[in-house]
Amino acid sequence: MIRESYLNWLILLGLLAVPIWALTADEPFTITLATRAAILALAAVGLNIALGIGGLVSFGHAMFFGIGGYVMGILAYHAQSFTPLDLGAFSIAGTKSMPIIWLVALILSGLAAWIVGLLSLRTGGVYFIMITLAFAQMFFYFSISWSTYGGEDGLSIYVRNGFPGLNTLDPIQFFGICFVLLCLVLFLNARLQGSPFGLALNAARQVPARVETVGLDPMRIKLLAFVISGAITGLAGALFADLNRFVSPTMFSWQMSGEFIVLIIIGGVGRLMGPVVGASLFVLLEHWLGGLTEFWHIYLGTILLLIVLFARGGLIGFLTGKEGAHV
């Protein structure tokens, strides 16, 4: 059995080592895979704040992922076609600058999370799962029929957006950007868990009444967690769109939301590194099994079943020998 803090560092080093090896071995596609894992992990880390610490099982986080993606798509589309984005009262120019896109993605997905949270947090349990799904489905159907930005065909961006001082088209440099952002968010998450806010959130999940008696409003705490969670997933969406240089309604699909939840459970719910392990394993399986047989979903399903049945607490729980993440 390994101590979780050591294991966490090992996991991060592993995710960093793979692309560096790929660079020396001249396997650029492996870097792309690692980048995909890092971005999916980032999205799931966002969800894990709501789901793992706050107990808010959102089945609609694809909504924020998609918003982030479309922020990138729309801004870059207007920049590459040199047409201003008309917002009725005023119009703005598009941009190909990553930091600005990230900022807009964070703000808009956070705002969406605030509105959805206000409406959804009145419910709980399965009702909360389903109402978040409903909001995501609305975005999904809307984006399919929104012909201005390609509808179901989506939007292609021909050149990846830029970051000052870096060549983002170089796979390893783009991986670097995503990895640094992932580390930053993980650091934030670790600090959050130990902070008064994190403790209050944890308590709000377990015994809301006790939180209330010490004069805190559990609703506001949960809402704040949901907003942070949505904003981070939105940021991941913007990166994911940049990785693919493409955005489409599938980013809003319920399968996407389900995939985020699956990533977290594979790794271990509420674990700091759970999403990173889950995303890495998922990308690896998808790539490796997909090359073996046409019917690889059968094997993927079987592996997932085995994890649920025999590795309670996810892979991290399995490796550290502790089932529950929560103290």
Binding site: S156, F246, S248
Partner: protein
């Protein structure tokens, strides 16, 4: 056949032929609900490769699961790791839009065996992109032309509310000259058409045009047949394809549909293709299989004229389209999309099998309307 097995075994094991001169990356849909189309394209393509007897073509096949992000990832893999020369295989327009602009911008050739979104025929056209199937509007334009020639003057038209559906109705209206009894956009993936059929019944239309690919079309035809509404139906070939027809059954009998290919087009290439496909895979070929077959033969014809390393010469060779198509006459228009004859077919029953029979020509030597917008 042995070669095909070898090629397949090689790709399964990741072995590279030392002699391979052209590396083809095929990204297509092999799992989930849309898998039938991708499997047909793949089988048609591999049949042509096997029949050519060449050992200098290596085909790497990957499943996109009908997800755009997976398709992009596979395209990256094929370009970055496998270093393919030519790409092909994508079935669905939204996946094509995700992959093709990036692939052609990186200097790869892309030969489309199915999807032909208007964006890639017009402003987004590229000198390295060739469509071997049709521009998306084509079969709908042919349906409109057929309706006009058949004397229909009051059509009820419906399609799902997404870009290909909007293009379909636009395409139909471009060549059809009568009145519209109604125009409906249904939901993508909708399976129940009772409400639409009730509107058709009440509309007083003299003909119905629909574009509902995949399971949507099966549902519509079965429900339409059962509703007792007997207004003639016209549609593009997608809902009357060999793979789907058996699931529609009697409900499709007699329906007129438009296609650039049919198994009864009379030319030696087509006869040999239908026979060998049936012998090889034990089923009748579909539209998609013929497109995969033609795509491979186009590639092979270009390889006979030029080296893929010399991109300009190879492109010029592709542009001549100097191969025997299963469709008979085939050439490329200025924007690298087909100029071809599109037929009207009728669904018939041969023994126990539902299939199509040509009843006439809908549009002769038809190109597409986006040529003017394309500047290569």
């Amino acid at each position: 056949m042995k070669k095909l097995m070898l090629a397949t075994a090689a790709l399964a094991l990741g072995v590279t032929f030392a002699s391979a001169e052209v590396k083809v990356g095929m990204i297509t849909t092999l799992s989930g609900g849309g898998a039938g189309l991708g499997i047909d394209v793949r089988d048609g393509f591999m049949l042509a490769v096997a029949q050519s007897g060449r050992d200098d073509i290596e085909v790497i096949i990957e499943d996109d699961q009908r997800k755009p992000d997976i398709a992009v990832q596979l395209a990256d893999k094929m370009i970055q790791s496998e270093r393919v020369d030519v790409m092909t295989g994508i079935i669905f327009s939204n996946l094509a839009m995700a992959v093709i602009p990036g692939a052609t911008a990186q200097g790869k050739f892309y030969l489309s065996p199915n999807a032909g979104p208007s964006a890639l025929a017009g402003q987004g056209c590229h000198q390295n992109y060739f469509n071997v199937a049709w521009q998306n509007d084509n079969l709908h334009e042919a349906a409109g032309a057929y309706a006009k020639n058949a004397g229909f003057s009051n059509s009820f038209i419906l399609a799902p509310n997404y870009p290909a559906g909007q293009d379909a109705l636009t395409g139909y209206k471009r060549t059809y000259e009568g009145e519209l009894a109604g125009e409906i956009f249904t939901q993508l993936g909708q399976t129940d058409y009772a409400a639409e059929i009730a509107q058709i019944r009440a509309s007083g239309a003299d003909s119905v045009f629909f574009f509902l690919p995949g399971g949507m079309g099966i549902s519509f035809l079965k429900q339409y047949d059962d509703s007792g509404v007997d207004i003639p139906v016209i549609g593009p070939a997608f809902s009357f394809d060999q793979g789907i027809l058996q699931a529609v059954g009697d409900a499709a009998l007699g329906v007129v549909n438009t296609s650039q290919w049919s198994k009864d087009i009379e030319n030696p290439t087509n006869a040999a293709f239908v026979e060998s496909f049936q012998a090889e895979y034990g089923r009748l070929p579909s539209l998609y299989a013929s497109q995969g077959f033609d795509t491979a033969n186009l590639l092979i014809s270009a390889m006979e004229q030029a080296d893929v390393a010399d991109a300009d010469a190879f492109r010029a060779a592709l542009r001549t389209a100097d191969f025997d198509s299963t469709r008979g006459d085939f050439s490329f228009g200025p924007n690298h999309h087909p100029v071809q004859t599109i037929y009207a077919r009728e669904v018939v029953k041969e023994g126990d099998v539902f299939t199509n029979k040509i009843i006439g020509v809908a549009l002769e030597d038809h190109g597409n309307v986006y040529t003017d917008q394309c500047q290569m």
